[in-house]
């Protein structure tokens, strides 16, 4: 675990870059986190997925997998991969400040 500064605030993240304490996250951090993942601009669709990740995490204690995202977020699998080419659930979780979703499918 390392402490890094995101949007001027010190936060704790693990070796892979996932927040270890989702409460440290604020929406103001998302654009900077997204840029680090190669996403230059957070569009409305990016936000929709990121907010969905936060809500799911808050309700279930774990982020959704790509399959669950595709079925329940209102964004299709194809669109999810266009928005987050390096892995929708993984990258969106990183931007949303929640731990990496665990699940094989």
């Amino acid at each position: 675990m390392t402490s890094t500064t995101v949007a001027g605030v010190t936060v704790d993240r693990n070796d892979e870059g996932f927040f270890t304490d989702p409460d440290q996250w604020t929406e103001a951090m998302a654009p900077e986190l997204a840029r680090a993942e190669g996403i230059d601009e957070m569009t409305d669709d990016h936000w929709r997925v990121v907010r969905f990740m936060r809500t799911e995490y808050a309700q279930k204690g774990t982020g959704p997998t790509v399959r669950v995202l595709g079925k329940t977020s209102g964004v299709s699998i194809k669109e999810l991969y266009q928005l987050f080419p390096k892995g929708p659930a993984k990258v969106a979780a990183k931007i949303a400040g929640i731990p990496k979703p665990r699940g094989c499918i």
Partner: protein
Amino acid sequence: MSDTAKPDPITKVSIIISKGSLEGIYPGLIMANGARAEGMEANLFFTFFGLDAIHKARHDHIKLATVGNPGLHLATIAGGIPGVSTAMTHYMNHKMEQLDIPSIPEFVEMIADTGAGMYACKASVDLFGLEKNDFIEQVQDIITVGEFYEIAAGGQIIFT
């Protein structure tokens, strides 16, 4: 080299699916889907009976092998009784549905949507007298083994 040096991450996989049973097809699909979810490039290559996974008329009727499958802990003679394979397949599909594991047709379509490549093996297609039209639209091409290796270049190859 220090003890803490992390190995290079896997960035590309090519997965060969060569079997036509339920338990022969799912692992390759799960690995391909998982690879895309991790942001890796992934290609699926269907060969021999694995072609059934992308065959329009067959991919919705994939059965669990109840004969010659010691892992099932079912006597071979019992596994061979007509209807047993169908019943066991039905049971397995039901269990998977409860865990929200997609059916094979749905899974293959989903994996194509993730941007994974899907290819059929030319030698097997010729052997079984099939043509491009027999396969689901997500199959990009029927390719030779040489073309497969070209596509697989620079990545890991997984045979299932």
